[in-house]
Subunit: 224 residues, 2 copies
DNA sequence: TATTTATGATAGTAATACTATTATTTAAAA
DNA sequence: TTTTAAATAATAGTATTACTATCATAAATA
């Protein structure tokens, strides 16, 4: 049996649905490669077109600009993570076990998911660490938010927040703690690898340390 | 008595020291205005030059590029905050009181400091919230780090980490918790104002709520 | 087969991110 | 005070970026 997972994206993010054609899938695939390799600032539609073997105009038929393309792949990642979490915490009764699992999923370097052919989740995870916050740290965040560009992120945050409340229904900051876990899973990873003195993981460079830190933070916070 | 605080910046950040001339001070002053108003992406040396009444080439004599200018003003802010913290926690014996003060300083919307004439700290604080992480979230973070561009941030993180250790010498993650507090003081503020469903402060839009959340997080974490 | 639709190829524009040159003003040194 | 050096202003120019527009062709669909 060969299953392909298709994630339905917000149509306001694209002009033509990239999932519906080879060129579109190439745009996603090579965008992830290039953004991960050179960073979002250095990424241009011209370079992307050259890498794919199409023209700049070809890319512009799919995405209005590179920011929407970034939001697209980042949203895709959040949706995919949401699916992973639902799938892998399914049947877990104990909310504490569940929350531990979620922290692990959030903070672990992802392996490429064979169910998605044109997306390398491992690279995408790296992009999220170093470019993720650029999706919302813009002057047009309000406009973007009105178009529901951040729904996947919010949904994930709600999911995590709900599990937190299952652990302790009286905890006062489930959403803020959820967004803190999600953000810190990435930021502490970035710091560990690039500015290690901002962390306590300098020796190991091992994400297991990040997971321990986050578990310590979270479970002490929500302790009854 | 009229005191002027001068913060000595890393000379690798600039070509000509902006503190040493009127034009230089104007560059800093107007950069802060423009970046706060339109965001860093929309900020160009041409617009800056126009705002000041000088030419693009004039700005380039002070800063190699807009990224270094951003790192400059952000570093300035961290240095200034460090000074604020040292000054305002001086003489406080109880490390818990001290840490509370630090959280408050980090999370409170700053008022313009009259000791610095060409820097509006209130605007700068806003810049830190929405642009701060762009200083290090680049492809050249390693190169920048080797030039010690992030020293002010690291120093601040160390200061906070030391206070955490004063509270509980056995706490295992003083630096990670410190960077978490610093980052979250800004990110939760951004979320509160722009993506409130990622927080639990939607009704109030009051930074006091953020302070309470951070205090709850920190003191539960370091409790002996 | 006709016709819509996607793609390819090419051109062009305004803005950005710079570098270079020369003239002019201002400040410091002789 | 004069000479000299340093900082600034004015202008021009380049490569790249971020697009838009046009037209021909290939592929899919009616």
């Amino acid at each position: 049996m060969k299953l392909e997972v298709q994630i339905k994206m917000n149509p306001s993010l694209y002009l033509r649905d990239p999932e519906q054609s080879e060129l579109g899938k190439n745009i996603i695939n090579y965008s992830i490669q290039l953004i991960q390799k050179n960073g979002f600032e250095a990424f241009t539609f011209k370079k992307l077109a050259e890498a794919i073997g199409t023209t700049e105009a070809g890319v512009y038929r799919y995405f209005e600009n590179k920011h929407k393309l970034l939001v697209y792949i980042i949203s895709w990642y959040w949706d995919w993570l949401q699916f992973q979490i639902n799938y892998r915490t399914n049947n877990l009764k104990d909310p504490i076990v569940k929350l531990k699992k979620v922290i692990k999923i959030l903070a672990t370097n992802v392996e490429d998911d064979v169910m998605t052919t044109h997306v390398d989740e491992s690279l995408l995870h790296q992009i999220l660490i170093s470019e993720g916050s650029k999706a919302f740290l813009t002057n047009h965040v309000e406009k973007d938010n009105k178009q529901h560009f951040f729904k996947p992120y919010k949904d994930l945050c709600n999911t995590v927040g709900d599990i937190i409340l299952e652990c302790n229904p009286k905890y006062k900051y489930p959403h803020s703690l959820a967004s803190t876990i999600i953000e810190m899973a990435h930021i502490q990873n970035f710091f560990m690898n690039n500015l290690p003195s901002l962390t306590d993981f300098n020796k190991t460079k091992d994400e297991v340390e990040i997971i321990k830190f986050l578990e310590d933070l979270v479970f002490k916070s929500i302790e009854k």
